[in-house]
C-alpha cells in the first residue's frame, strides 16, 4: 500500500524529527506527536516552519518533530525575543515556540508578557507539568498550592495561570489542553497554526518521573479526572468543505484569517470565546473547583499582529536586495548638507 500523502504531496517522514531523549511516557512526547499530525494534516511545508525554544525538557522537543524545519534552542526563558526577531526578519515563516512552565512562568515571564502584548504571530506552547524536570523535580510557578513534590514537600505559593495572563495581556488565541486528549489537542493545534497572532496553548503534560504521584495536581490521574472541557473543539481548514452540520444553538463558528473555521461546541450556553470577561470567569470558576477548563478559551481572530502593525514590505526583510537597502548617493549628500 502506498504511504499516505498530504495535500502538498508529502509523506509523514519530513514531519518527524529525531529520536526523543525524554522519559518513556512523558506527556511532551505526546504533544510532539500531535504537532507532527497537525502540520502533516494541514499540509504545511516543514521548511516554511521555524521551531523555537528556551531551555528545559520541553525546549528539547523541537528536535523531535519537523526534522526539515530550522530550529533554534535558545536560552532559558528568552525564546520569545528570538522568535520575535526571526519573524521580523522573515514574515513568511510559520513559527512554533515550545516552552515549559518554568521557562515561561519564572525566568521567562518578562518576555512571555511582551510576546503576548505584541501579538507576535507564533504558536506558543507551554508544556506544563508544574515542575522542573531537567533539574530533578523542583516546583515551577504553575504548581498548585498544596501540591506536593515527590519527597512530600508541599507547595505554599499560589500558581501563575498562564492562560489568564495571556488573555489579559492581549494574546489573540488562548487555549488549554491536556497531552492525553489527542482529539482536542490536535484540533486546537490546527486552529492555532491557522491563526495570525499569538496563539498561546497551555498543555498540561504530566511529568512521569517527578510529578506523577498522589499529591500532585498535575499527575495523569488528577488531570484526567479534573479536565473540564469548555466544549468540543473542531477545526475545519480552509481547504476542506466547510459546510459541516453543527448544532447552531450550542456551537460558535469562528472564521480565521485564511478562511478556515474553528467550531466550538459549548457546554455552557452563555459561554462566548470571544468575550474576555467570560474567559476569565470560566478560568476562575473551574480553578476554584480544582479543575482545569480546557478548550479554546479565548479568540480574537481579526486582531492585527505585530508584523501587520509594523507595515513591512512583502518580501521578507532577510531577502531584500542591496539596492532596496542602501539609499542612493543623493541621500547621503542631502544628509551631509543638513549638517553643514
Amino acid at each position: 500500500m502506498e504511504p499516505k500523502k498530504n495535500r502538498i504531496g508529502l509523506e509523514i517522514t519530513p514531519y518527524r524529527g529525531g529520536k526523543t531523549t525524554l522519559c518513556a511516557g512523558c506527556g511532551h512526547n505526546a504533544i510532539s506527536e500531535r504537532i507532527i499530525d497537525a502540520f502533516f494534516e494541514m499540509g504545511i511545508q516543514p521548511r516554511d516552519v521555524l521551531k523555537l525554544s528556551g531551555i528545559g525538557c520541553s525546549s528539547k522537543t523541537p528536535a523531535y518533530f519537523l526534522g526539515e524545519a530550522h530550529g533554534f534552542n535558545s536560552v532559558h526563558g528568552r525564546m520569545p525575543s528570538v522568535g520575535t526577531g526571526a519573524l521580523l526578519a522573515n514574515r513568511k515563516m510559520i513559527a512554533i515556540g515550545i516552552s515549559g512552565d518554568g521557562d515561561t512562568g519564572a525566568i521567562g515571564i518578562g518576555q512571555f508578557v511582551h510576546l503576548m502584548r505584541r501579538n507576535v504571530p507564533i504558536v506558543y506552547i507551554i508544556e506544563d507539568n508544574g515542575c522542573y524536570g531537567l533539574t530533578k523535580g523542583q516546583f515551577s510557578p504553575t504548581a498548585d498550592v498544596g501540591s506536593t513534590q515527590k519527597n512530600g514537600q508541599p507547595n505554599d505559593l499560589p500558581p501563575i495561570d498562564t492562560c489568564m495572563m495571556a488573555v489579559q495581556l492581549g494574546a489573540s488565541f488562548v487555549a488549554r489542553s491536556f497531552s492525553g486528549d489527542k482529539r482536542q489537542l490536535l484540533a486546537i493545534l490546527k486552529a492555532a497554526i491557522a491563526h495570525r497572532g499569538t496563539a498561546m496553548i497551555d498543555v498540561l503534560s504530566p511529568c512521569v518521573t517527578f510529578n506523577d504521584h498522589e499529591g500532585s495536581t498535575k499527575s495523569y490521574a488528577y488531570v484526567k479526572e479534573h479536565d473540564e472541557p469548555s466544549g468540543e473543539v473542531n477545526f475545519v481548514p480552509f481547504f476542506e468543505d466547510i459546510t459541516v452540520d453543527y448544532d447552531a444553538g450550542t456551537t460558535t463558528a469562528v472564521t480565521m484569517h485564511d478562511g478556515s473555521r474553528l467550531y466550538l461546541k459549548k457546554v455552557a450556553e452563555d459561554y462566548k470565546p470571544t468575550d474576555k470577561l467570560a474567559a476569565m470567569r470560566l478560568m476562575h470558576e473551574t480553578h476554584s473547583r480544582g479543575e482545569f477548563a480546557t478548550g479554546v478559551l479565548y479568540i480574537e481572530s481579526d486582531k492585527d499582529d505585530l508584523l501587520t502593525q509594523m507595515n513591512l514590505v512583502d518580501t521578507p526583510l532577510a531577502f531584500l536586495p542591496p539596492e532596496s537597502l542602501r539609499p542612493g548617493k543623493g541621500v547621503l549628500e542631502a544628509v551631509m548638507e543638513e549638517h553643514r
Partner: protein, 620 residues
C-alpha cells in the same frame, strides 16, 4: 591690553540642567565653525532632568585640536549654584560673563568681568514670561558675539539653522541675540585677549554627533532589524536611526518599510531579537551602554558558540554599576572582549571619529556576517553625544559581505555534504543556511554540538569545535580594520584608541614642541589585534598605552593576546574622572614617566601659548 589670542580659546557656559541653554550653546559652536575656525563642543551634563549644574564647553582652535581643553578661558556664569566655584577655578587673565546681580566681580581682581542684566534685557524682548527663561540664553550669545568678534550674520545663520522651520521661535530668539549684542556694544569695554578671526579651515565640513553618524552608517550598511532599549548615552543612536529610516527606507506612498525597529522590553530581549533576526538572515543590530552589555552577556555567549551574527553599538559610559551615567569612559573593553562565560572572544571595532562611526557601522555588519558572531562597535559618550566636525562622509559603494551563506549551487559544489559547523575552507568559518530558502535545515543550539550541528557531549567534538572557533578568530585578525601607524625616529611609542586619539594628537605636538620628545603612534581600531600591533610594540623601547579607565584594560588585553614578554616595556597613561581626556594631562604624565619635568616648569619655553598653563590635575 594683553597680547591678542586669536582662535585659540575655550568658552564654558555654566547653566542649570533643563534651562534650555543647549540651543544657545550650539549657536556659538556653529557660528565659529561657519567662520572657518576648527571647533569642538562638549556637554558635561548631570544625570538629572532639571536642576543640577551643567557645563557646555566650546573650544576654538586654529590648529585643529579638538580634544577637551582643561582650562577655561571664557566663562559664562549663568548658574548661581556653581558661579563662585567656577570663577575661583579660573587662571588669571581669563574672562567672566555673568548675570549682574551675582556680583562675581567682587571675588577677584585678576579677571575680566562683564556684567549683563539678563532679566531686564529679556523683559524687553520677550513679553511671554513663560518663555523668558529659554530666550534669556540667547542674550549671552549676543554679548559673546560682540566681545569675541563673532560675526552677527553667522550667529543669525546658525540660529536659524538651529530652529529650522520654527520661524516664530527663531524670530523671538533673534531679538534676544540682538539685544545682547546691542547691550554689549553700548556698555561693555573689552579687556580680555580672546578674539575670533575668520579662517578657511572648515570649508565643506560637517558638524555631527557620533550617534547620528553611527545610525547613518547602519542605514547605508543595509540594517533591516534594530531592537533596542533606552539607555544613556546610546538612545540617540536608534532614535536617529528611526528618523533616517522613516525618511529614506519607507515607501513614501504606502509607508511600507524595508526595516523593523522595535523598542524591546529590556536589553536581554533586544539582543535576543537581534539573534533571532540574524539567524533568519536579517542584518540586525542593537545599541546600548555598559549596563546593557552586561545584561546581554548570556546571549553573547550563545551567539559566539552557536555562531550567529549581530551588531552591538556600545556607547560607553562610566561604570561600574550605574556609575556616572552621563559621563564618558572606555571602561567596557575587557568585559566586552570576553563577554559571557566559558571561552569566548568577541570582535570589537573602536571608532575615534564620527567618520569612523559611519564607516565602522558598515565594517561591523560585514564582519558580523562573515565571521558569524557579534561585532561590538565601542564608541563612548564623548564621541556619541557630542558634536564633532568632520569631512563629509564618503558614499559606501562596496558590496555587502553577507558571509558564507549556502545556496543550491554551493551545496552542489560541496558535493551535497554539508555540516553546519564544518571547517570547509580551513579558515575556521563554517557555512550556514537560512530558513525559508529551501536549503538544508539545522538545529541551532547553545549546547554541545559536532561539526554536523548534531547534539554531542563527546570530548573530541567539543574540543574540535572550540579550537575551530579560535581558528576563526585568528582569521579575523586580517579582516578587522588595521591600526593606523605613524612611525618616528624615537624610543617612545604611544598606543591609543577611540576618543583618546584627539588628545593624543595634541599631546604629541606638545611633547615635540615643549620637550623635543618625538613619539611614534599606533591607533588601535579593533580586537583581535592585527599583526601590526605586535610589530609596533617590539619596534619601540617604551610604549605608553593611553586609555580612559582605571585598570589599563587595553594593556591587559594586549598582555593576554601577545606572546609572553612582548609587553614588558608597555606602560599606561590612564584618565578616568568621567570627563573627556585632555592633552595637557597626558603630556605631563608621559613627561613624568620619561623622567622629565612636567609642563609647569617648561612654561617659559612655551610662553604665549594659551593652551599651556599648569600641570595641576583635575580636582587637585
Amino acid at each position: 591690553m594683553q597680547q591678542r589670542v586669536v582662535n585659540d580659546f575655550s568658552i564654558q557656559v555654566a547653566t542649570v540642567n533643563g534651562s534650555g541653554s543647549q540651543t544657545a550653546n550650539l549657536v556659538i559652536l556653529r557660528s565659529i565653525f561657519q567662520m572657518g575656525i576648527p571647533v569642538s563642543g562638549k556637554n558635561m551634563f548631570p544625570s538629572n532632568i532639571a536642576g543640577l549644574p551643567t557645563w557646555y564647553t566650546v573650544r576654538a582652535n586654529k590648529d585643529g585640536f579638538v580634544a577637551r581643553k582643561k582650562e577655561v578661558d571664557f566663562l559664562v556664569a549663568m548658574n548661581v549654584e556653581t558661579a563662585k566655584e567656577d570663577v575661583m577655578s579660573l587662571e588669571p587673565g581669563r574672562a567672566v560673563l555673568y548675570d549682574e546681580p551675582l556680583k562675581l566681580n567682587e571675588l577677584r581682581s585678576d579677571l575680566s568681568f562683564y556684567p549683563v542684566p539678563f532679566d531686564k534685557l529679556v523683559a524687553t524682548v520677550c513679553t511671554d514670561a513663560k518663555l523668558r527663561r529659554l530666550v534669556k540664553n540667547m542674550i549671552y550669545d549676543g554679548v559673546l558675539s560682540h566681545l569675541l568678534d563673532i560675526e552677527m550674520t553667522e550667529m543669525e545663520k546658525a540660529l536659524r539653522k538651529q530652529f529650522g522651520k520654527k520661524v516664530k521661535a527663531a524670530d523671538l530668539n533673534m531679538g534676544a541675540l540682538k539685544a545682547g549684542a546691542d547691550y554689549a556694544t553700548q556698555h561693555l569695554t573689552k579687556t580680555d585677549p580672546f578674539h575670533v578671526e575668520r579662517m578657511d579651515k572648515t570649508t565643506g565640513m560637517i558638524l555631527i554627533e557620533g550617534n547620528s553618524a553611527g545610525a547613518l552608517g547602519a542605514m547605508f550598511a543595509g540594517v533591516t532589524v534594530c531592537a533596542w532599549y533606552p539607555i544613556t548615552p546610546s538612545s540617540s543612536l536608534p532614535e536617529a536611526l528611526i528618523g533616517y529610516m522613516k525618511k529614506y527606507r519607507a515607501d513614501p506612498a504606502t509607508g511600507k518599510a524595508t526595516y523593523a525597529i522595535i523598542q524591546a522590553e529590556d536589553e536581554i530581549a533586544s539582543i535576543g531579537m537581534v539573534l533571532g533576526a540574524s539567524w533568519a538572515g536579517a542584518r540586525a543590530m542593537t545599541s546600548t551602554s555598559g549596563p546593557g552589555v552586561s545584561l546581554m552577556s548570556e546571549f553573547a555567549g550563545l551567539a559566539y558558540y552557536a555562531e550567529i551574527p549581530g551588531v552591538v553599538f556600545d556607547i560607553q559610559r562610566v561604570g561600574p554599576s550605574t556609575g556616572l551615567p552621563t559621563r564618558t569612559a572606555q571602561g567596557d573593553i575587557l568585559s566586552t572582549a570576553m563577554l559571557s562565560h566559558g571561552d569566548t572572544k568577541q570582535i570589537l571595532l573602536i571608532p575615534s571619529s564620527v567618520e569612523e562611526c559611519f564607516e565602522m557601522a558598515q565594517d561591523a555588519f560585514d564582519l558580523a556576517e562573515r565571521f558569524q558572531q557579534l561585532v561590538f562597535v565601542m564608541s563612548d559618550l564623548d564621541l556619541g553625544m557630542n558634536m564633532w566636525m568632520s569631512a563629509p562622509f564618503t558614499y559606501p559603494d562596496r558590496v555587502y559581505d553577507r558571509g558564507k551563506v549556502l545556496d543550491a549551487a554551493k551545496v552542489k559544489e560541496l558535493g551535497g555534504e554539508w555540516g553546519r559547523y564544518r571547517d570547509v575552507d580551513g579558515d575556521g568559518i563554517p557555512y550556514r543556511t537560512l530558513p525559508g530558502t529551501g536549503m538544508p535545515s539545522y538545529f541551532t543550539r547553545g549546547s554541545g554540538h559536532n561539526a554536523r550541528g548534531q547534539y554531542s557531549e563527546r570530548p573530541d567534538d567539543y574540543q574540535n569545535n572550540v579550537d575551530r572557533l579560535a581558528r576563526k578568530f585568528e582569521t579575523a585578525k586580517s579582516h578587522v580594520p588595521a591600526p593606523v601607524v605613524e612611525d618616528a625616529a624615537t624610543e617612545v611609542g604611544i598606543i591609543g584608541y577611540g576618543t583618546s586619539h584627539w588628545a593624543i594628537v595634541e599631546c604629541r605636538a606638545q611633547l615635540e614642541q615643549e620637550a623635543g620628545l618625538a613619539t611614534a603612534y599606533l591607533r588601535l581600531r579593533a580586537f583581535p589585534f592585527p599583526p601590526e600591533v605586535d610589530a609596533f610594540i617590539s619596534r619601540y623601547k617604551r610604549i605608553y598605552v593611553v586609555e580612559q579607565n582605571r585598570d589599563a584594560q587595553m594593556k591587559m588585553l594586549l598582555r593576554l593576546e601577545l606572546p609572553a614578554g612582548a609587553t614588558n616595556h608597555v606602560r599606561s597613561v590612564l584618565h578616568y574622572n568621567g570627563l573627556p581626556i585632555d592633552a595637557r594631562s597626558l603630556a605631563d604624565d608621559i613627561l613624568v614617566q620619561e623622567g622629565r619635568k612636567a609642563a609647569e616648569t617648561v612654561k617659559a619655553a612655551t610662553a604665549g601659548r594659551a593652551t599651556v598653563t599648569t600641570a595641576a590635575r583635575e580636582g587637585e
